[in-house]
């Protein structure tokens, strides 16, 4: 199985995957064990769509905030991540601003949501990625977890049914609403990356998560590993830490803790990482397509690139096994790999 996956990885390299993506793909591969290695492997040809659903607001002030976040997210995706108005669907509140705000495609009424989902289902091909961001209020009770849209609310189970059609696509759902946890849990399935702004039903106050998610994406601020791209895990890490910082600065006890599930078991993780139960898919799920850099023409450069990619893979494998090494041994090994990679990278950039 491992061997087969490695071949699959090499095929992707041959298709022109570049350094950063290849590294992360390697990492996910290393962690995926016996899972089918099919998700979030889309190459440059894979289309990326975003569906932003902004629900009903409890007051004008909150409405203005939700609206501002939704527009900002729309603009950031368009400006920094290669999306366009064709690939972003924004369903905002009651849709009344559709005439004046060109970003708005409809309302957050159930029929508009269903129509948008059906349309996307028709549009998206296998291997394409759909990112759904939910902004607004949510609620959770013994009966059901709901997203407060205009008109009758939609439950997590109902929304899961709507999403069931996306079996061939990579799906990222970011639920930034209050009481979002149980709604999000209903959406968990293998191959999906689900982010919830809250981790329990009790966290029912409007979260700040959306604000910092947008900040993470804006100008790729959340790009933690400096590969020029923002993964879902990086965006989550940035937003999550910023939210905690915000509460600390305000001198308030945090009323939200965001979580991720990306192994489909519905057990959301507070501390996801590539080496933990959740995190390996989120790490390779990017908001954008990777644009290949200028290709080197010399055979030596190509060979060097292959070596660099092997080194990166080795680095990520070692990092994933950190707990199994004595600290000194770990860093000695890591340093050897990193020095080698740095030297090869330097040489690579000198080559034609």
């Amino acid at each position: 199985m491992m061997h087969a996956m490695r071949r699959s990885f090499r095929r992707k390299l041959a298709r022109g995957l570049t350094l950063g993506l290849s590294v992360l793909a390697t990492s996910a591969l290393a962690q995926s064990g016996d899972q089918e290695d099919v998700w979030f492997r889309g190459g440059p040809e894979a289309a990326r769509h975003a569906l932003i659903i902004t629900g009903a607001a409890a007051s004008d002030e909150i409405r203005a905030r939700f609206s501002q976040w939704s527009n900002a997210l729309h603009d950031v995706l368009a400006r920094d991540y290669g999306y366009s108005s064709d690939t972003i669907t924004l369903l905002l509140d009651d849709g009344s601003t559709a005439g004046t705000n060109p970003r708005v495609d409809g309302s957050s009424r159930r029929e508009d949501i269903e129509a948008a989902v059906n349309r996307l289902q028709q549009t998206l091909a296998a291997g394409d990625q759909l990112t759904i961001v939910m902004i607004g209020h949510g609620s959770s009770s013994d009966a059901a977890a709901k997203f407060n849209i205009v008109g009758p609310d939609i439950t997590g189970a109902e929304f899961a049914t709507l999403l069931a059609a996306f079996r061939q696509q990579d799906l990222v759902v970011i639920n930034t609403t209050s009481g979002s946890f149980e709604f999000s849990a209903a959406l968990a399935a293998p191959g999906r990356v689900i982010l919830s702004a809250t981790r329990t039903r009790a966290e029912r106050y409007d979260p700040m998560f959306a604000r910092y998610l947008i900040e993470a994406l804006d100008a790729r601020t959340g790009d933690r590993d400096k590969n020029g791209r923002v993964s879902v895990l990086e965006a989550w890490t940035f937003a999550s830490q910023s939210v905690q910082g915000w509460y600390s600065e305000q001198g308030r006890l945090p009323t939200e803790r965001s979580v991720i599930d990306d192994n489909g078991d519905g057990n959301f993780s507070l501390e996801p990482s590539a080496s933990a139960g959740d995190g390996s898919l989120a790490e390779i799920a990017y908001f954008d397509n990777h644009s290949a850099g200028p290709q080197k023409s010399s055979p030596e450069a190509r060979a060097l690139l292959a070596e660099m990619q092997e080194l990166e893979r080795a680095i990520f494998l070692l990092r994933g096994q950190k707990a199994n090494y004595l600290e000194e041994d770990y860093w000695t090994r890591m340093e050897t790999l990193l020095i080698d990679l740095a030297r090869k990278t330097g040489r690579y950039h000198e080559l034609p």
């Binding site: 590969n227 990166e312 680095i315 990092r319």
Partner: protein, 900 residues
């Protein structure tokens, strides 16, 4: 012993009894007078109800009517009711009249013995109880416990144990049934240090009879002994709900609240209540009202010449003032009835600890545990005071011994929990200081604290010509509770943010503080000097006065500016005489009062410094190292009486008030400060004007400035209202006038702050920044403005100013990311790799969102600073996250080259 004839008493009481019987029957009348009287409540039952509810005089009258089969119970009740009103002699007489044989009248005799003990006749009490216990095959449980208690009190511990064990054995055999006796067995367990059993037994007693006042209060006392205030209060309140005049519960409540009201009420009920008198004396002594305290103690000793607490209060006063003969006399007096009483020495240790005389406190605590190694509170006192001397390990050993044997003592367990916290803390050192702080503070705060510590040492040793004992231990706590427990043993410490014990300083971390931590640290370090110079004998007012005065000496923007409060205090004649300045601290009813006590003490120090010179201040400090009256000290130093000194001070204050020349309107409230005078002071009237400006307020303020052109508050509020109305030009006029009236005003909002906001709205950045600069000359708590000015200075290339304002921001909070980014940029531009490393090391800790960039920057700075190994380690951390990050790869290769 002489017993009067019982019949004579009974004859004498009879006419009164008839009368009372009638009264009692009337009390039992049904509500409808027409209905026939069908049943009369027995006198004993009614009398006991009255006793229980606190109608003591009525109870006394009724108990005297009881005879026949209830006679003994009536006498017992009578003696208790008399005792509740302080008529101990009458109670004793009544019992002595009734008893012909102690053993035969065991219950009455036990009560008699308790009264004898309460009135200082412990030898007689012992004889009576011995007769009761030896004269009965199964003496009452109460007699066993009282006998055991008294034997223990008189130092006969082995014999005491036998009696107490016998009482417990009775319970174990299933022979104790009622609540009173179970409470007695609980007390026996308590006396034998079986605190868990005692607690369970009190629980059982109260469950059996929740109306048993004695059980409730004894249970409360057990909790109090263990510093479990919450449960103690519950018990006392339960008793007071039944009988609001029950003095033991009132005394318990007063011990918790520290209020005199409950005590005054208790003494109304029973003017001879020894516990109430002693508690009042303790409170007065703690508030520096020693003379009044002594009066209460003398009253207590008149009632009970053998009162240990009273004698220990007197002995503590004698020892504190080094009247050694008097002390020896008092010690001998205690030893006469209770030889080697550990609690006596424990009380002395406590008194010395409260007076900051920790060395002596340790000595007395040592004596206490030597007298009775099982006196666990003594070990706690020993440990607590050792810690205050900086002898932490020895202190911990004592506390652990206390905890192992008395785990219910909240103070002990709290103190030990702080040790657990400290185990996680870093220990850092400079030449003269040893500092404990959290690992995070060690990374973020320490780089700025370390130089300040040594700066204070160099400055103050030179200035005071005195070198304190080093290292001084400084402990910085992240959690306020830990700070409070470390400082006073319990988690509630009010608004305090730093405490100096002479050789040890405790502080709240700036992480949980909204004040200038550097000023607080400096303030406390000045205490190190003044306390050590006087062997911790300096009175609080002078020590605080000097520390506040030194704040401003250290940095011009530090210190307190209470010009308006001074004028107000002078107008209201609230200035205290110099001879009574400590009362400003001990008698403060509010934070505001306390804040002004600090300010007035500062003024006295400022007065001495300005009018007599700093050398005189040093002379005065040295006087406090001696044992003499304060008035004599002033005579020696200033060659005048303290009253004349005070008159001079008042004249000086009057001149100062004239110079301030501000009109203070009676309708304006004083500014409200936080953090014990170190924090931001808020001008609530101006804040209200900012929030709710309206036409009527504007009109009113216009009238005020017309009436009184130097009405600062009116100009300020008018300026704010006009600003909100966007009448900027007129607003500026009033705000400028307000500023000119009180240029050093440091409250929030200040005229300069509002002016800066106006200029910001007008788009005049230069004027805005200038107003902020003016404001920051006197305002030390506004980190946003300091960061703004630092950024502006950086942008304009004025690196000196940028660094100045960055330092000002760091004094408020070292946890702001932007401050360190400014610092790193200054360092880069000034080519100061050392500073760059300092700032970037902190940034690595604070910048959780971009660790790769932060570590790469730091590694570069390490390289520039010649720290290649550190660079190498750091860049590996960055590359572990981002192995393909080109800049970091280059730094790694440079670091590798540099280390080869």
């Amino acid at each position: 012993m002489n017993f009067p004839e019982r019949s004579a008493l009974r004859v004498a009481l009879r006419p009164l009894s008839l009368c009372l019987l009638l009264q009692a029957s009337l009390l039992a009348l049904p509500a409808t007078a027409q209905e026939p009287i069908v049943q009369m409540q027995p006198a004993l039952e009614r009398a006991e109800e009255l006793l229980q509810s606190g109608s003591y005089l009525a109870a006394i009258e009724l108990f005297q009517r009881v005879d026949g089969l209830d006679e003994e119970a009536g006498l017992l009740g009578l003696s208790k009711a008399l005792a509740q009103t302080g008529e101990y002699e009458r109670a004793i007489e009544a019992l002595e009249d009734a008893i012909s044989d102690y053993a035969a009248s065991a219950r009455l005799a036990t009560q008699l013995a308790e009264l004898k003990r309460a009135t200082g006749q412990s030898a007689e009490a012992l004889q009576i109880l011995e007769a009761v216990v030896t004269g009965n095959t199964t003496p009452p449980v109460r007699a066993l416990v009282q006998y055991g208690s008294l034997l223990q009190y008189t130092g006969r511990r082995d014999e005491a144990r036998v009696q107490l064990e016998a009482a417990i054995g009775r319970y174990d055999a299933g022979l104790v049934f009622d609540a009173e006796e179970i409470a007695m067995v609980a007390q026996a367990s308590w006396l034998l240090d079986r605190f868990h059993d005692a607690n369970s037994l009190f629980t059982e007693a109260v469950r059996l009879d929740a109306q048993n006042l004695e059980a409730q209060v004894l249970w409360g006392d057990l909790f109090m002994e263990k510093f479990n205030v919450v449960d103690a209060e519950q018990s006392y309140n339960a008793a007071l709900e039944i009988n609001r005049r029950y003095t033991p519960a009132l005394v318990g409540q007063a011990k918790i609240s520290g209020g005199e009201r409950s005590l005054a009420f208790a003494l109304d009920v029973n003017p001879n209540d020894v516990a109430a008198l002693e508690t009042m004396a303790t409170l007065l002594a703690m508030n520096d009202r020693a003379e009044e305290a002594v009066e209460y103690v003398e009253r207590a000793l008149e009632v009970n010449p053998e009162s240990l607490k009273s004698l220990s209060i007197l002995a503590a006063q004698a020892a504190l003032h080094e009247r050694f003969d008097e002390f020896a006399e008092l010690e001998a007096r205690v030893n006469a009835f209770s030889p080697g009483n550990a609690r006596f020495y424990g009380d002395l240790a406590d008194a010395f600890g409260n007076a900051y005389r920790f060395t002596e406190a340790v000595g007395y605590a040592g004596q206490a545990v030597a007298a009775d190694p099982n006196y666990w509170q003594g070990h706690t006192l020993l440990g607590t005071n050792l810690i205050r001397l900086g002898q932490e390990e020895e202190g911990r050993v004592a506390l652990e011994l206390a905890f192992d044997n008395d785990p219910f003592n909240v103070m002990t367990s709290n103190m030990l929990k702080v040790f657990d916290t400290l185990e996680e803390y870093a220990t850092l050192r400079t030449e003269h200081f040893e500092v404990r702080m959290s690992q995070r503070d060690a990374r973020v705060l320490w780089p700025y604290m370390a130089p300040l510590l040594e700066e204070s040492w160099a400055t103050l040793t030179a200035k005071y010509g005195f070198e304190p004992e080093a290292p001084v231990l400084v402990e910085v706590f992240e959690r306020t509770d830990d700070f409070a427990v470390r400082s006073v043993g319990l988690p509630d410490i009010g608004p305090l943010v730093g405490i100096c014990f002479g050789k040890v300083v405790t502080l709240i971390s700036p992480q949980t503080l909204d004040a200038n931590w550097q000023e607080i640290l400096w303030h406390e370090l000045v205490h190190v000097f003044t306390l050590q110079m006087t062997n911790n004998r300096m009175p609080r007012w002078l020590s605080e006065g000097i520390s506040v005065w030194e704040e401003r000496e250290a940095r011009p923007e530090w210190g307190r500016r209470h010009g308006m409060e001074l004028v107000r205090a002078a107008q209201q004649n609230k200035l205290l005489p110099v001879s009574n300045l400590n009362a400003g601290f001990t008698g403060a009813d509010s934070n505001e009062d306390l804040g002004f006590a600090y300010f007035q003490s500062y003024l006295v120090v400022d007065y001495i410094s300005q009018e007599y010179g700093f050398d005189k201040l040093i002379e005065l400090i040295k006087q406090y190292a001696l044992i003499k009256e304060e008035s004599a000290m002033f005579e020696t130093v200033f060659a005048m009486s303290i009253d004349d000194f005070d008159a001079g001070f008042r004249a000086w204050v009057d001149r100062r008030v004239q110079e301030i020349n501000v009109y203070v309107h009676t309708e304006d409230a004083a500014d409200e400060g936080a953090a014990h005078g170190h924090g931001q002071r808020e001008n609530s009237s101006a804040v209200m004007a900012e929030l709710y400006n309206n036409a009527s307020l504007k009109q009113h303020m216009r009238q005020r400035v017309q009436d009184q052109p130097r009405d600062f508050q009116a100009h300020l509020q008018l300026g704010i209202v006009l600003f909100k109305e966007e009448a900027f030009d007129e607003a500026k006029v009033h705000l400028q006038i307000a500023h000119d009236i009180l240029p050093d005003y440091s409250g929030y909002p200040s005229p300069s702050l509002v002016l800066s906001q106006i200029y910001e709205r007008e788009g005049n950045q230069a004027a805005r920044l200038e107003q902020l600069r003016i404001m920051l000359q006197n305002q030390q708590h506004d980190d946003d403005s300091t960061v703004l000015l630092a950024t502006a200075a950086l942008e304009s290339g004025d690196l000196e100013s940028a660094r100045y304002y960055m330092d000002r921001a760091l004094a408020i909070t070292p946890y702001r990311l932007d401050v360190h980014r400014i610092g790193a940029e200054i360092a880069r531009r000034q080519n100061d790799p050392h500073m760059a490393v300092r700032e970037l090391e902190v940034l690595v800790d604070l910048d959780v969102n971009d660790p790769v960039e932060a570590r790469t920057d730091l590694a570069e700075a390490y390289l520039a600073n010649g720290q290649a190994p550190e660079a190498r380690r750091n860049i590996l951390n960055a590359l572990e996250i981002a192995p393909s990050y080109l800049r970091a790869q280059q730094v790694l290769l440079q670091a590798v080259d540099a280390t080869q």
